[in-house]
C-alpha cells in the first residue's frame, strides 16, 4: 500500500501547494505592473489545479494512500503530506468551486481593487495544504495561510459593512488560532509528536494522568475546527461575513467551512475512533446534539432572514450541521452519506452566492426580500433560483435529497434515529418554506421598477456562464450519483480503517539521495 506517485517526478503530491504559491507570487508582480497577463495566468493556474486534482483523485480512487515526505525526512521527524480518497475529493471540490468563483469574478468583482487574483491563489494554496497535510502544526500553518488570504479577499473592494464584518471575523479567528496552538502544544507535551499518524499510535498508550490532558487537548482542537465549520455556539460570525463578502469571494468561502468539517472528520476517525484507547468517543455524545441544534437554529435563521444573502448563509450553516451530524453519528454508512452530501452542498452553496449577487444587481443593487421589479431578464434567474432551491433544500430529484436520504437510512441503526429523522426533515421543510417565500416575494410580487446597475456586457456573460457551469456540476452530482456514492462509500471505509493511513505515513521510505555530499566531503578530507 506504500507508494509514492511516479508522475511529475514523484512530486505530484506537493504540486497542489506549489502551483498556487508560484502563481500567486507571480500574480503579485503582474498585478502591481497592471499587466494584461494577470487574468490569463490566474485562469491557467486554476485550470491546471483542477486537472492536477482530477489526476490525484483518479490515483487515490485505487485505494492507496500516497505519501510525500517534505525535505525527504522520515515520517515522525519531518512533515508528511498524505493523499487518501477524502483528501483527493476535497482537492477536486476546491478546484471546482475556485474555477466557478474565478470565472464569475471576470464580470467585474476582480477589478474593484488590486491583488484579487494573487490573494485568490494564496487562499487556494492554504486550502490544498490543509487537505493534504498529515501534521497537526502544519495544519495550523495552512489554516493561518488560508485565513490570512481570506481576510484580504473579504476586505476586497471594501465597503463599510465589509470592514465591520472583517473586524469580527479576524478577531474571532485569531482567538481560535490561539486555542489551536494551546491544543497542539499540549498534545506535543504529552505525546512528543505532532504527526497525526504517529499521534494516533501513541495517544492510546498514554498513562491515565496524561490521557486526561490529551483528552482536553483533542476537545480543544475540535472546538477550533467547530469555529471553522460553524457549529452551533460558534457560528455567529458566518452569516455576517458571508453576506458582506463580494459574490465570488463568498462562493470560494463555501469551501472554507468544509475545511473545518474535513479536519473534524480526519481527527475524529484517526484519534477518536474505537481504537483510540482513552480518547475513544470523547466527543461522541456532544457532536450529534450540537449538530442537531445547529440545524434547528439555521432553519430558524433562514426563516427570519430579510436579505437573500443572509438566507443563503444560513443554508451554509444548515449544511455544516448536517455534515457534522453525519460525522458525529460515527458509523461508516453515516460518514459515507455525509461525504456524498458534502459534494453537493458545497457546489450548491457556491452557486447560491453567485445567484444572489446577480439577483441583487438585476434589482438595482439590493437583495432585500421585498416586492420590487427586475430591470431585466427575471425569467432565467427565476429558473436557476428554482433549481438551486431544490438542490439546497434537499427535495427530489437532485443530489441534496439523495444525500439526506442516505443519511436518514444510515441513522436508522444508531440510537439517534428518531431525533435525526425529525430534525433533518424539519429543517429541510423550514428551509424549503424560507426559499419558497423568498422566491415568491422576489419574482412574483409586483413593485416599483428598479434601476439596474450598469454592467459591462461581457461581464454579465462571464457571470451567467460561471453560474451555468456550477449548476451543471450540481446536476451532474445527481446524474452521476451512483459512481459518486460508490466513491464516497469507499472513502468512508478507508477513513474507518485507520491502520491503512497510519501504516502508509509511518512506513514511507525517503528517496535515496542521488548525491551523498557528506561522503564526498569525507573522501576529499574536507569534513572533520
Amino acid at each position: 500500500m506504500i507508494a509514492t506517485t511516479a508522475w511529475l517526478g514523484g512530486h505530484a503530491l506537493v504540486m497542489p501547494i506549489v502551483l498556487p504559491l508560484v502563481a500567486g507570487a507571480l500574480l503579485v508582480l503582474l498585478e502591481k505592473a497592471r499587466s494584461r497577463a494577470v487574468v490569463p495566468v490566474s485562469i491557467l493556474a486554476t485550470s491546471a489545479l483542477l486537472i492536477l486534482a482530477a489526476r490525484l483523485m483518479e490515483q487515490a480512487a485505487s485505494g492507496e494512500v500516497a505519501v510525500y515526505l517534505l525535505g525527504n525526512w522520515r515520517a515522525p521527524f519531518g512533515i508528511t503530506l498524505a493523499l487518501d480518497r477524502l483528501s483527493a475529493l476535497m482537492l477536486v471540490l476546491t478546484a471546482l468551486v475556485a474555477g466557478g468563483a474565478l470565472w464569475f469574478s471576470m464580470g467585474g468583482a476582480a477589478r474593484q481593487g488590486l491583488h484579487f487574483h494573487s490573494l485568490f491563489q494564496f487562499q487556494l494554496m492554504g486550502l490544498c495544504g490543509a487537505f493534504l497535510t498529515a501534521d497537526l502544526f502544519n495544519l495550523f500553518v495552512f489554516f493561518e495561510l488560508l485565513l490570512a488570504a481570506s481576510y484580504g479577499l473579504l476586505l476586497h473592494g471594501g465597503t463599510r459593512a465589509r470592514h465591520r464584518a472583517a473586524l469580527h471575523y479576524v478577531v474571532f479567528n485569531l482567538a481560535g488560532s490561539a486555542l489551536f496552538l494551546i491544543a497542539v502544544s499540549l498534545l506535543y507535551g504529552v505525546a512528543g509528536t505532532l504527526n497525526m499518524a504517529d499521534l494516533a499510535q501513541k495517544l492510546p498508550l498514554l498513562p491515565p494522568a496524561q490521557a486526561r490532558l490529551a483528552q482536553a487537548a483533542v476537545l480543544m482542537l475540535l472546538v477550533v475546527f467547530a469555529v471553522k465549520a460553524a457549529l452551533l455556539p460558534l457560528y455567529f460570525w458566518l452569516p455576517d461575513t458571508y453576506a458582506a463578502a463580494s459574490a465570488p469571494v463568498a462562493a470560494l468561502f463555501a469551501i472554507m467551512t468544509k475545511v473545518g468539517v474535513y479536519a473534524i472528520a480526519r481527527t475524529s476517525t484517526l484519534l477518536l475512533g474505537p481504537e483510540g484507547g482513552p480518547l475513544a468517543g470523547v466527543a461522541a455524545p456532544m457532536l450529534p446534539v450540537l449538530a442537531l441544534a445547529t440545524l434547528v437554529l439555521a432553519a430558524t435563521g433562514a426563516l427570519a432572514a430579510r436579505h437573500l444573502r443572509v438566507l443563503v448563509a444560513y443554508a451554509v450553516v444548515a449544511s455544516a450541521g448536517t455534515l457534522l451530524l453525519a460525522i458525529g453519528l460515527g458509523t461508516r454508512d453515516a460518514l459515507a452519506a455525509g461525504l456524498f452530501y458534502l459534494v453537493n452542498s458545497t457546489l450548491v452553496a457556491a452557486l447560491w452566492f453567485l445567484l444572489a449577487d446577480r439577483i441583487a444587481t438585476a434589482r438595482g443593487g439590493t437583495d432585500r426580500l421585498e416586492a420590487g421589479a427586475f430591470s431585466s431578464g427575471w425569467a432565467p434567474l427565476g429558473v436557476v433560483f428554482f433549481a438551486a432551491a431544490v438542490a439546497v433544500a434537499g427535495v427530489p430529484p437532485l443530489a441534496g435529497f439523495m444525500g439526506k436520504a442516505l443519511l436518514l437510512q444510515a441513522a436508522g441503526h444508531t440510537p439517534w434515529a428518531g431525533w435525526v429523522v425529525a430534525l433533518v426533515l424539519g429543517s429541510s421543510l423550514a428551509m424549503m418554506m424560507a426559499l419558497a417565500r423568498a422566491g415568491s416575494t422576489l419574482f412574483w410580487k409586483p413593485g416599483a421598477p428598479a434601476t439596474a446597475m450598469k454592467l459591462a456586457a461581457s461581464g454579465t456573460g462571464a457571470q451567467s456562464a460561471s453560474m451555468l457551469a456550477l449548476l451543471a456540476a450540481v446536476l451532474a452530482t445527481a446524474i452521476f450519483a451512483g459512481p459518486l456514492a460508490a466513491y464516497t462509500e469507499a472513502a468512508a471505509t478507508q477513513l474507518m480503517q485507520r491502520q491503512t493511513y497510519i501504516g502508509a505515513v509511518l512506513n514511507a521510505q525517503p528517496v535515496p539521495a542521488a548525491y551523498d555530499v557528506r561522503r564526498e566531503m569525507r573522501e576529499r578530507g574536507d569534513a572533520k
Binding site: R160, L167, V170, A175, L181, Y188
Partner: protein
Amino acid sequence: MLLLLALGIGTLAGCGTWLLLRERSFDTVLGLTLLSYAVNLFIFAMGRVKPQAVPIVEPDGTPSLATLADPLPQALVLTAIVISFAMTAVLLVIALRTQAHTGSDHVDGEEPRP
C-alpha cells in the same frame, strides 16, 4: 522557576482574555497580543523547561535528552511568533480602516445607543 512561568502564562492569558472581551477595537488588539504571548510561553513550556540547556549538540558531547533542550517547541514558537506578529499588523490595519470608514473605534463600527 516553573511556578513563575505558570503564573506568567496565567496572568498574560487572563489579561488577554479580559481585554479581548472589551468593546473598543484597540483593547481587543492588545488582548489578542497578550494572549499570543501567553500561548508562545505555553508552547515553550510544553518542551519542558531546562535551565542552561541548549538545543544544539556540542561537538564533543553525546546527544541525550538529559543535557539537551528539545529544539522542536522552540521552532514551533518561532513560527507562532512570526504568524501572530503578522496577524496583529493585519488586524491593526483593519481596525484603523474600520475607524476611518465608520468614525468609531467600537468593535461594531457604531456607538451603542443608550
